[in-house]
């Protein structure tokens, strides 16, 4: 997006490599926490730049380019990589030096990219990554011999071990920024015969360094024999996903209670300390009650991302895509859509961005349109609040929690409705007979703690930034809207009824009365448009302000358990499965599709579904 703040003086080094070669682990090891994540201008491909401090005290800029199978792009990711290497992106400088990262256990595939890069003529070094795994597998690669055969320097690296990049750093330390103007590189797209010729060369080199043995069945193959087994595989997948959702509820309970107690304690302490004033109202009722009720869901979001990152790092995610490909295919989606859709369980925005790996534009559009129906983590606070208030905490057979089961069911409803919408979308318009899958199933790895922690920290940072900025600002605005104008003298009802928010809520309540929402919920839905979880904070603020005196510091859960009927609660759950609540998602869709048409269609269909689902839920639940 914007120019990196790192001084432009040091040489710029690009990390290039096939997907799944351990490039990001290497990048994390080289740059540690000195990373800056943004987007490339005009596209939503993630741009990761970091700084390496070399032993001699120099600063070297390192750019982690998106993984690519070749320099002839088929996806926007690969396009970025090719354009930067060829010096075709106006706003990006062509790298001074290229580190081609290869998976030492899969050189047969990886070396073709090395040969292509060599043709570019940029100064480069080949990193034989995962060299420890290769050694353990009995693949002994003589780096100096390989270097002689390739005609470029080769160093062995271990991206998951501290000190595993020492020899690479030594090389990077010696690079100088070249002087003089750069020449644009001539690039000719290779024909099939050229690629075939490269592969002959790869085989020759592998033969020369004694690494051309293709093993029989590897450990990964043996794991796959179980995990991809047609009957056992889906059962394992279901068990894994179910375990994740149970953990999100069970493990998070203690830290959530602690955060809640901390916020309540702080509120009580401040309440006793400060004299009654506007400032006290803003701080205790507005900021603390609002932000605290969102912050309390941080443990659940951490646990969810913890599992997603582990599944990703271990190599299980593409297997899940493989297993679900037929089901996805039955509604006209590619198995590739699974990874964007799974990311959407955390947040639809990275999910929608991840659809760029889908080559077919129609597939991609359909995936974008259904991504917001996946239960994102911002819905979790709302679900969690209503479930804990209305669903009894009871153990069913086998120690399963009823609350966890209801949560699981909400996720399933989201998935099923997404499939139904995809089916309708894909039936309109000409059907494409051939949908590509072509998904790599990388060898299994133990997840690496460092990468897990860096990934987790980046998610926590995004969440806390949201809490600290958008959510905090909305809470203050909402508090103001809910506090002014002040009730007239002699008024009997709670103060908020006389405020702007009270009037707005009363107006919306007319629209939402048929689906059982009271005016407090109707008010909370307004700031919820900015971010779904804000609705919980808004309810916190609304109820804090409408409660009289003593109740102010009380938890929201018992309050709503008292004042809502069960049909209202269920109706709100149904609303949240479908409603187009998050404006940032719609903005992302606009940017990804480059048109207002699709975000508008998305908002309309989701609003329609939400209203219909809530109406039906409310009416049926009211019968009992």
């Amino acid at each position: 997006m914007d120019a990196p703040s790192i001084p432009a003086s040091g040489p710029l080094i690009a990390l290039v490599g096939n997907p799944n070669c351990g490039k990001t682990a290497l990048f994390n090891l080289l740059t540690g926490s000195r990373q800056k994540v943004a987007n490339y201008s005009g596209v939503t491909v993630e741009r990761k730049e970091g700084t390496l401090l070399t032993p001699s005290g120099r600063r070297v800029r390192i750019l982690d380019l998106p993984g690519a199978y070749s320099l002839d792009p088929l996806t926007p990711d690969e396009q970025v990589t090719a354009d930067i290497l060829l010096g075709r992106r106006a706003e990006e400088t062509q790298p001074d030096f290229v580190v081609c990262v290869t998976d030492a256990t899969n050189l047969r595939q990886n070396l073709r990219l090395v040969l292509s890069l060599k043709r570019l003529g940029l100064p480069m070094v080949v990193a034989l990554n995962m060299s420890d795994l290769a050694r353990r597998k009995g693949i002994a690669i003589d780096a100096s011999r390989l270097s002689k055969e390739l005609g470029v320097p080769v160093v062995a690296t271990v991206g998951v071990k501290a000190g595993g990049v020492r020899s690479l750093i030594a090389i990077l330390d010696g690079i100088d920024k070249p002087t003089g103007a750069r020449q644009a590189v001539e690039w000719h797209t290779p024909t099939a015969a050229d690629i075939e010729h490269d592969q002959f060369e790869v085989r020759r080199i592998l033969g020369a360094v004694g690494a051309d043995r293709v093993e029989g069945l590897t450990l990964s193959d043996r794991i796959d024999a179980i995990v991809l087994q047609p009957v056992l595989g889906p059962l394992i997948l279901a068990a894994v996903l179910f375990l994740v959702f149970q953990a999100v509820f069970a493990w998070a309970q203690m830290p959530m209670d602690a955060i809640k107690a901390g916020v309540d304690g702080l509120g009580g302490w401040l309440g006793g300390l400060l004299p009654p004033s506007i400032f006290k109202g803003l701080l205790v009722d507005g900021v603390l009650a609002g932000v605290g009720s969102v912050l309390v869901f941080l443990p659940q979001i951490i646990i969810l991302f913890f599992f997603i990152l582990i599944l990703e790092d271990s190599g299980y995610l593409p297997r899940a895509a493989f297993l679900l490909d037929r089901i996805m295919g039955s509604v006209g989606l590619s198995g590739r859509a699974f990874i964007p859709l799974l990311s959407s369980f955390a947040c639809a925005i990275p999910g929608i961005m991840a659809t760029r790996t889908i080559q077919n534009p129609r597939d991609r559009l359909a995936t974008i349109m259904i991504a917001p129906l996946m239960t994102c983590s911002a819905r979790l606070p709302v679900y969690a609040l209503i479930i804990s208030a209305f669903i009894p905490q009871r153990s069913l057979w086998g120690g399963l929690q009823l609350q966890g089961l209801v949560l699981f069911a909400l996720y399933i409803v989201g998935v099923l409705s997404a499939m139904a919408v995809a089916f309708v979308l894909k039936r309109r318009g000409p059907g494409a007979r051939f949908q590509s899958l072509l998904l790599e199933l990388p060898a299994y790895h133990w997840p690496n703690l460092r990468n897990l922690m860096i990934g987790l920290w980046q998610r926590i940072e995004i969440f806390l930034t949201r809490v600290g900025t958008i959510i905090l600002a909305l809470m203050v605005i909402l508090w103001a809207l809910s506090s002014y104008p002040a009730p007239p003298p002699g008024a009997t009802g709670p103060a908020i009824q006389y405020s702007i928010a009270g009037h707005l809520g009363a107006a919306l309540a007319v629209l939402f009365a048929p689906i059982g929402f009271n005016w407090q919920i109707s008010i909370a839905l307004v700031p919820g448009l900015a971010a779904r979880e804000v609705a919980v904070g808004a309810l916190g603020t609304v109820y804090a302000l409408s409660a009289t005196g003593e109740n102010v510091g009380n938890a929201l859960t018992p309050l709503i358990a008292h004042s809502w009927s069960l049909p209202t609660a269920l109706s709100l759950l149904a609303w949240y499965v479908f409603a187009p609540q998050c404006l940032s998602t719609l903005a992302t869709v606009k940017r990804e599709t480059n048109s207002w048409r699709y975000p508008l269609i998305m908002a309309a269909y989701m609003f329609g579904l939400a209203y219909a689902a809530s109406f039906i839920t409310y009416r049926i639940a009211s019968l009992f």
Partner: protein, 101 residues
């Protein structure tokens, strides 16, 4: 080490099948990669080549989906890819005679 052309020739007198028809677990060698249906995406052949489905490489189907026997997981060289059957049918292979698993 075998020269590429000899590998190629060793398949010349044996029957070729589409990779989609190869039984699971059978080792086979790629003979050629090319479109079998004009409606298939034109970049498919190039991408299959770029992923390593190239004449002379060893392939083996290591997993299959539950319904329609699709998709298939194919080990090629030292990597594994999930393919749909129409993608696999673009790859002509000849089964290796000696080693089957």
């Amino acid at each position: 080490m075998n020269t590429p052309s000899r590998k190629h020739d060793s398949c010349a007198d044996r029957p070729h099948v589409g990779l989609s028809e190869l039984p699971s677990g059978t080792l086979a060698r790629v003979v050629s990669v090319g479109p079998v249906d004009t409606a298939a995406p034109p970049e498919l052949t190039r991408r299959l080549s770029e992923l390593g489905f190239l004449p002379g490489e060893l392939v083996r189907i290591v997993g299959r989906g539950l319904f329609s026997r699709e998709p298939i997981a194919v080990r090629v060289g030292t990597g594994t890819f999930a393919l749909r059957l129409f993608e696999a049918s673009c790859i002509r292979v000849c089964p290796e005679q000696t080693r089957t698993v």
